[in-house]
Symmetry: C2
Subunit: 368 residues, 2 copies
């Protein structure tokens, strides 16, 4: 059977003060009142019933996730007791699903991006399932067609087209994964037409993935097998709490996909081209791109605002009882929450993380 | 006897959202934790005992004034039921004081400015009392030595020096009051050396002032006499509430000082030079001038703030539990209160009043 797994870890520091330790980016109701997690869930509902969608998240956010996804099966919420990076965050649901269904094939998707159009996304994931069905040894990754030489992303270098009996096009063997490149290299990748942005989304048979995990990260594979053995039994929580923290912290790209792409295991790595708008909303200017703006280019979300002679500003509040007002501002960001207010030019949005670090150093977690 | 009267009306709209209808500028604890009213009171304490200091304010702010001035005699707090402009705001205490003391001489001072040095201020007011003693028919105004051609102030044109038996210098006959001039005229005034900024501060015998009021504004004089007759009797409140709203709305400059300076009454008008720093703190940049700044020129008052790479900003909060943070800001104003946040460049500070009007039109008084 086919399953969807949403990776909903991460904190979204660059969306502080709206995103906080206790309410990370994925859970903010910031896009038409919906959270990124909800949008990700709804994307999967295009081709999967809710009972076959899992969410892997921090155990601390369990209640908020349930509130966001009331239509999700409770047993499909996998709460990590602590973050152990993505190799385990995908391996954990793979092990649980394999226990429940020896034929399980899973699509791993993220909740960090807005993806448009949703139909095309769904079509690509479906094609990933086709590849995994025809080539059961495949680990299928999804490659976003790059629109510029992004230096903050990994790249996937495609090789020959993959032949499929179904005749579907757009799937390739992967020749290599590339870490974040410098600008000249990134520009060369884009110009070549042979590179994709590494989306962090995958499709694979759970048995194929776990065999590969066993090959490259045997300690993770062993721990996750122990957890899976206890899953859906009374010992589930106890074993999870005991074993999960012992798993080695390593990313799925570095720990599994890269060695697999180099032929170091039994699996082969394929990439399905995903020609979508793939919008990282991890910073305020990026988020503003997907929000509605007024005639002056001002984006106003959440609470009341009064502006005079102001253009291209981002004003977000979580307090309908508090007024945010501006005069003569251009290209500024104003974020108001009950705990804190942030003001900075759009061009400084990447430094919000630094500000959060400084705030933590000075005040502890009081305002985080 | 000599008395001091503090005029503490006005709203201070340009200091919104910190100043509000229910907490006007004079009552904000913004200068080293003291309000402008408190500072004004303490300036008078330099040469007057507290029982001879009166405050004329809106009746609505009575409780806040008492809290700010616990050392003031309660009977000296004159609460206007409604604003009737400055001719009545000074005439009201003049009438009350004259009833209590037929020899009363009063100094009218404002609570809108920071004045430095305080010693010199006190010396000038004392000299005003000398002028009023030697020339009992005088209405004494105080002229601030102008430092630039301010177009937002009225000017006092001095004539001959006033001869005083005590030999004190710096007092002159007034030849004319001038309304707010255009820039060229203002510059000419300053260059001439014969003009002062009209401070709105005065010294006069109460009987002299009220006689002049009778001459130029008989309706006001009659109403205030009715109020004074009932003052310190059980009918005080009732008569005040009935009569005060009927008084004609007019300023003391336009209604009394200008006609008096033109010789239309019995009084003569004198000006005492007041060579002080007279700082109108009626806007955020002006207020910031008298507050402490850090090494980057940032003024931070009231609540916690974290700033990165920011210079010459004004950050004021009234909430110690709320963090205001900034990255890469220059010459900006950020004011945070529980009701509202204002962000604007320093250069736009004069438009805060427009913003308040717009806010009122859109939301009523909710955020004011």
């Amino acid at each position: 059977m086919q399953y969807g797994v949403i990776m909903a870890g991460g904190s979204g520091t660059r969306l502080w003060p709206m995103s906080r330790a206790e309410r990370p980016k994925q859970l903010l109701p910031i896009i038409g009142g919906k959270s990124l997690l909800r949008l990700s869930f709804e994307r999967l509902l295009q081709f999967l019933p809710p009972e076959r969608i899992c969410v892997c998240t921090s155990a601390a956010h369990r209640a908020q996730v349930v509130a966001e996804l009331p239509d999700m099966a409770r047993g499909n919420l996998l709460g990590e007791p602590c973050p152990r990076d993505t190799a385990n965050a995908v391996g954990f649901p793979a092990a649980v699903l394999l226990k429940r269904d020896p034929q399980a094939v899973m699509a791993v998707v993220t909740a960090d991006h807005v993806i448009e159009p949703v139909d095309r996304f769904a079509q690509c994931i479906r094609q990933g399932f086709v590849v995994a069905a025809e080539h059961p040894e495949s680990l299928v990754t999804f490659g976003i067609v790059p629109t510029f030489g992004h230096t903050g992303l990994g790249y996937v270098h495609r090789a020959d087209a993959l032949s499929l009996q179904s005749g579907a096009a757009g799937a390739y063997r992967v020749s290599e994964f590339k870490e974040k490149p410098d600008q000249a290299t990134a520009d060369r990748y884009v110009a070549s037409g042979d590179y994709y942005w590494n989306s962090g989304m995958f499709v694979w048979r759970c048995d194929t993935f776990l065999a590969e995990l066993q090959q490259h990260l045997p300690e993770s594979a062993k721990g996750l097998a122990t957890i899976a053995a206890a899953w859906d039994t009374p010992r589930q929580s106890e074993v999870l709490a005991a074993v999960y923290p012992t798993l080695p912290k390593i990313s799925v790209d570095y720990g599994v996909m890269e060695p697999a792409s180099l032929g170091k295991g039994k699996a082969s790595v394929a990439v399905v081209e995903m020609p979508v708008r793939w919008i990282d909303v991890g910073s305020w200017p990026a988020l503003a791109e997907v929000l509605k703006s007024d005639g002056d280019g001002n984006v106003t979300e959440g609470g009341p605002a009064v502006v005079i002679d102001s253009q291209q500003n981002i004003i977000v509040s979580d307090d309908p009882e508090h007024l945010v007002s501006a005069i003569g501002l251009r290209d500024m960001i104003i974020i108001h929450t009950r705990k804190a207010t942030l003001v900075c030019p759009r061009s400084e949005a990447q430094r919000v993380k630094t500000l959060v670090d400084l705030t933590k150093a000075r005040f502890g977690t009081k305002y985080l």
